[in-house]
Symmetry: C2
Subunit: 218 residues, 2 copies
DNA sequence: GTCTATACGCTGATAGAC
DNA sequence: GTCTATCAGCGTATAGAC
């Protein structure tokens, strides 16, 4: 799966190489997450990874190839939760709650990954356009089928599935992407458990409350 | 108001100067909106504004000072809608609907401004931290008082006002900041009126539906 | 006031010693 | 395979002619 954008020199696996590559990818995720693609420098990534700068080029080729490797890691991670939670076999309430909790956990545990995705979208998503219009599109289509089942079972009202998913993504990812705004408002230096919990409860009330609107609509 | 970060040389008003400054600010908003602060180049701004590059430095000083001028324009704009719509004198439903419509209109009409704000938050908000912890904080405090009145009048349930505002901002701004994701999903080249309308209806149902939850909670 | 020409730092990337 | 030393190019910013 991660072979599609492999380094230019793929001689052998080699334990030291794997360790260096992992360190570089982890450092790259942090640095790209702080500054975006253009703002990040190979120097800073090398320093943070604890390797000489040329080694990064040796392992990953260009800066853009390194960046795309990082993006790929994030993309695969990003989809998993929905296939687990937003499936017709579950109850709607349970599915939405589990999914929203998972998305909030992602914002808390991998904020840099979320920010890299946000930067990429702001830049115009040139590096992931194919992924968005194929993989993510099918991903949303599966959610549409799930919502359709739930609607016929009167577990939720009819709604545009794309825009509903969009709303959930934006609300949950804001706790990573726009955390600076929230910390300035709360006065906390960083977002704490209590902030994530309050945000989670707010989002849950909006989305689960919507599901319960079924009665008002006949 | 916009005097706080004035150009280094403020000899006289002068009609040609004002025209050039306006062209530069407009071009800067577009270019910063596309690439963020680091990714934008003075060359590109100068070309897009139709002025020689040194003139920008002459009028605005450094790149960072130009950037802060653009940010200031955006900030003042950003607050206006809430003071008009989210006030106790209105009905809750009317207030939320008007506010959300205004925020969606902002995403449609000034997407670059919305993106610049998003970039700035992703970068850590170093240029607007003071603004966030003073002006925006008081702004949210006023919303909290409005929601308090509405709650006592049984127009909406109790909720954490900061997180509710955060949710509304993230959902509406996503139609500017993450529009690439939406266009890839819809298949449209750019977001069209029908997309903004569908998004608006989705957000309205989430938020207005929440207000109606008052009955279930006693 | 305005703009051409230029200085100079920092970037990504590589050549070549080990 | 690994890393020191270095290059070419683009970035911001300014000196100085007009």
């Amino acid at each position: 799966m991660t072979e599609t954008l492999s380094p230019p020199h793929r001689a052998g696996p080699g334990a030291p190489r794997q360790a260096a590559e992992a360190a570089i990818l982890a450092a790259a995720e942090r640095v790209f997450g702080r500054h975006g693609f253009r703002g990040a420098s190979m120097n800073e990534i090398a320093r943070e990874a604890g390797v000489p700068k040329p080694n990064i080029h040796y392992y990953f080729g260009t800066k853009e190839e390194l960046y795309r490797s990082v993006l790929e890691n994030i993309m695969t991670f990003w989809l998993q939760d929905a296939d687990y939670w937003l499936v017709p076999e579950r109850q709607a309430q349970e599915g939405f709650e589990g999914y929203i909790r998972a998305k909030m956990a992602f914002s808390r545990e991998r904020p840099d990954a979320s920010r890299i995705f946000a930067y990429e979208l702001l830049q115009g998503a040139g590096n992931i356009h194919h992924y968005l219009s194929t993989t993510l599109r099918e991903h949303v289509a599966r959610r549409a089928r799930t919502f359709d089942v739930w609607r016929t079972e009167r577990q939720m009202p009819a709604i545009d599935p794309t825009h509903l998913m969009f709303a959930i993504w934006s609300m949950t990812q804001a706790y990573a992407d726009m955390s600076t705004q929230m910390t300035a408002l709360t006065g906390h230096a960083v977002l704490r458990d209590v902030d994530f919990e309050a945000g989670l409860q707010t989002i849950l009330r909006l989305v689960l409350g919507f599901c319960n609107d079924i009665e008002d609509r006949g």
